[in-house]
Symmetry: C2
Subunit: 376 residues, 2 copies
C-alpha cells in the first residue's frame, strides 16, 4: 500500500495539478516547496518561524547527518523530528548527491560509493542498504532511493551504465525499506538528457513500484530549456496517481514551469543560500541588498510583500546589517526569501483551485518584466 496521494484538480490548459499528500507526520498540499535543512536546521530559521511562513515539510540531508552527528545518535535522541524540534513531515535525500559533490576520493562500484568525509577525511562506504538504514534511523517520512546524480555533460555510455546501476540500487533500496514506521519510499528517475534513457528509467522504477517518483540529475549545469524538455518527455510517463518531485530545483521561474509540466514537489537551497549572500527574491525579480543604491532607501525589499521583514525593515537597514556581517541579516533575508518561495507555491495552489493557473502564469511573467531594473 502506497501512502495516500489525492489528486484534487488538474489544469485544463497545462499539466499542472493540485494535490494532497499524506505522510506519517501530517498532510502536505501540493504543489509544494521544501526548505532545505541540511544539518538538522534550516539555516538561520527557528522551526516555529518556518511553520508561520507556510512550510509544510522540510528536507534533511542524509550525507551530512550520517557524518555528523551520526544517525544512531539522532535515533537515540528520539529521531530527527524531536532532535530538531520540527513536528511536521520530513523528506530525506539519500546522500547520493552530496557523496558526489562533497565526498573526497570517491570510488563507485556495484556495492555503493567509497569516499572520504569532507569533515575529517575518515573512510566511508555508503550503500543503498545503508542509505535506507540511515534515513529510517532519522525517522524520515519520505525516504529517497540511493542513486548517482550523473554529472553533466556525460557520454551516453556513462549515462547508460550509471542509470542501470542506479535502477539496480533502487531495487535494493525497495528491498531494504521497512514500511512498518509509515514512511514512504520514492524512486529517482535518471537517464541524463536523453529521452529514451529517461523513459527506460521510469519504466524500470514503475516496475519496482514506489510511493512517489523523483526526477534527479537536473540543475546540474544544463540550461533551463533542456531542464524543461527533460520534464516534458519524462513526466507524461510517470503514474498519474503518484506524486512527482523534481530534486534540487530551482528559481521561481523553474517552479512555475515545473508546476505547469506536472511537478508536485520541489526543494532547493536557493532561497536560503542566496539570502545569506544578500540576494533577495521579489515578484519583480532579484535584488542584491549589498548595492550602494540601497544605502538610504527607506522602502522595504518588496513594497508588494506583506512578510514580517517587509513590514518592519527598510532596504537601508538590511543593507547596513548585511555590510556589518550581522547574524540578523541572514535571519531576516532568509525569512523574506522563504516567504516569497512558499507564497509563490500557495498562489499556484490557489490558482489551480480556482482554475486560473494560466492567468497566474501570465501575471507572474508580466510583473517580472516590469522590474528589470531590480536585477543585480
Amino acid at each position: 500500500m502506497s501512502i495516500p496521494f489525492e489528486l484534487l484538480a488538474t489544469d485544463s490548459k497545462s499539466s499542472a495539478r493540485l494535490g494532497r499528500l499524506h505522510t506519517a507526520h501530517g498532510v502536505v498540499e501540493t504543489p509544494m516547496f521544501m526548505p532545505v535543512g541540511t544539518q538538522g536546521t534550516v539555516k538561520a530559521m527557528l522551526p516555529e518561524t518556518l511553520r508561520q511562513l507556510g512550510a509544510q515539510i522540510i528536507l534533511g540531508n542524509t550525507y551530512h547527518l550520517f557524518l555528523r552527528p551520526g544517525h544512531q545518535l539522532v535515533k537515540k535522541m528520539g529521531g530527527l523530528h524531536k532532535f530538531m524540534n520540527w513536528s511536521g513531515p520530513i523528506l530525506t535525500d539519500s546522500g547520493g548527491f552530496q557523496v558526489f559533490s562533497l565526498g573526497k576520493l570517491r570510488k563507485i562500484d556495484e556495492d555503493g560509493v567509497r569516499f572520504q568525509s569532507h569533515l575529517d577525511g575518515s573512510h566511508q562506504l555508503l550503500t543503498p542498504e545503508l542509505s535506507i538504514e540511515i534515513q529510517q534511523a532519522l525517522g524520515s517520512d519520505i525516504i529517497m532511493v540511493f542513486d548517482e546524480c550523473i554529472p553533466y555533460p556525460s557520454t551516453r555510455e556513462y549515462v547508460v551504465d550509471s542509470t542501470e546501476r542506479s535502477m539496480r540500487w533502487a531495487k535494493r533500496c525497495k528491498q531494504a525499506h521497512d514500511r512498518s514506521d509509515g514512511s514512504a519510499l520514492f524512486g529517482i528517475v535518471q537517464g541524463g538528457m536523453h529521452a529514451d534513457l529517461r523513459q527506460k528509467s521510469v519504466a524500470d522504477l514503475v516496475d519496482i513500484g514506489f510511493d512517489g517518483y523523483a526526477i534527479g540529475g537536473l540543475s546540474v549545469g544544463e540550461d533551463a530549456q533542456t531542464m524543461y524538455e527533460v520534464m516534458e518527455y519524462t513526466i507524461p510517463h510517470l503514474p498519474e496517481e503518484r506524486p512527482r518531485y523534481v530534486m534540487g530545483v530551482g528559481t521561481p521561474e523553474n517552479l512555475v514551469e515545473g508546476v505547469r509540466r506536472g511537478v508536485d514537489m520541489f526543494d532547493c537551497v536557493m532561497p536560503t543560500r542566496n539570502a545569506r549572500n544578500g540576494v533577495l527574491f521579489t515578484g519583480f525579480g532579484k535584488l542584491s541588498i549589498k548595492q550602494e543604491r540601497y544605502v538610504d532607501d527607506p522602502l522595504p525589499i518588496d513594497p508588494d510583500c506583506d512578510c514580517y521583514v517587509c513590514r518592519n525593515y527598510s532596504r537601508a537597514y538590511l543593507r547596513h546589517i548585511y555590510k556589518s556581517n550581522e547574524i540578523l541579516s541572514s535571519m531576516l533575508n532568509t525569512q523574506h526569501n522563504l516567504y516569497y518561495y512558499l507564497q509563490l507555491m500557495e498562489q499556484m495552489r490557489q490558482a489551480l483551485s480556482c482554475g486560473t493557473f494560466d492567468k497566474f502564469c501570465q501575471e507572474f511573467y508580466l510583473k517580472r518584466q516590469s522590474g528589470v531594473e531590480l536585477e543585480s
Copy 2:
C-alpha cells in the same frame, strides 16, 4: 527637570532598591539589565524576541553607528528606534569606551580624541559635542557623557588628569545636550580604583547635575572584590533619587552584588558574546556546550529553566549545531542566555517587592555551589 525616577522600595538589609524609570519611549523597571545592540541589532535576536524575553531597554553603541552606517543616515531613516524596529527605550553609550578599545593611533587632548576607524582607517575626531550630536541624531532616550575609560592599572597621576578632563568634558556634554526631544543625560563617575578620586568625581558631576549617574572604568581587569569596593565607596555619595548605572558589568554574581550595593542599571555583552562561543548560563553555573560530555545528553541546558530553548532542545542538539557552525546555534544560545539574565533581574525585582532580597541572595549562591560540576 530630570526624567522621572520613582523609588518604590528599598531593602532593609542592603542598599538594594526597586524603582521605575520613565523615558521618552516608555517605562523601565529597575534594577534592570540592558542587552547590547552594538551595530543596530542585538546580535542574533529579533526585536520581538527581545521583548518576549523581558528586555525593557537596549543599548546602542555610538562609536559603531557613527562609523557605520553613520548617524546622519540613521536620522534620515527616522532614528535608531525605527531603523532597527525597536520601539522601546534605547540608551546609547558615548563612544568613549570603543574609541579607546577599537580605534587605532588614538590621540587624546582637551578637544577630544583623534583616531583611525577600525573599519577603513579613516581619520576621525570624536569630541564631547559630537558625541552628544550623534546620540541625539540616533534619537537615544538616555544619552551618556563622553569620557575616557581609564586603563587598569594606571598611575594615580594619570587617573587624576584623565578624570579631571572627563569632568570638563561632562560639563561640555551638558551644555551641548538639547533636552527638547525628551532625552535624558547621564554623567559617568571616573576616578580609577581610588576612593577620594571617585568621590571627587561624584561631587563634580552632581555639581553639573545629571538625570542619572553611571560608574565607568569597571570591568577593566580588576578583580571582583576591587569592583565591589569601588561601588561601596562611590554609590553612597550619589544622589539617592537618581538612577545609578554600572557600565559594562557583568557576570550574574556581579549583577547580584551590584544590586545589593544599590545599582539600578547594568549592561554587558557577556550573555550575548558567550552565547556565540557556546557558553551558557544556568542557575547552577556556566555550561560549555561544545564539551564531549554533552554529545548524547537528552537534557535541556538547564532543567529548571522554562525558556523556549530549554523547553524544546536537548544539549545534544545544541552541541551538534554549535559544532556544525549553524546560525541557529547563536540564535538559540543567545535567547537562552538573555532569558537567564533578564529573569535574574526580574527575580531580584520580585524579591525587592516582597522584601525577600536577602533570602534571594542566599538561594542564588546555594544553587551555584550545588552545581560546581557544570563549570567549563
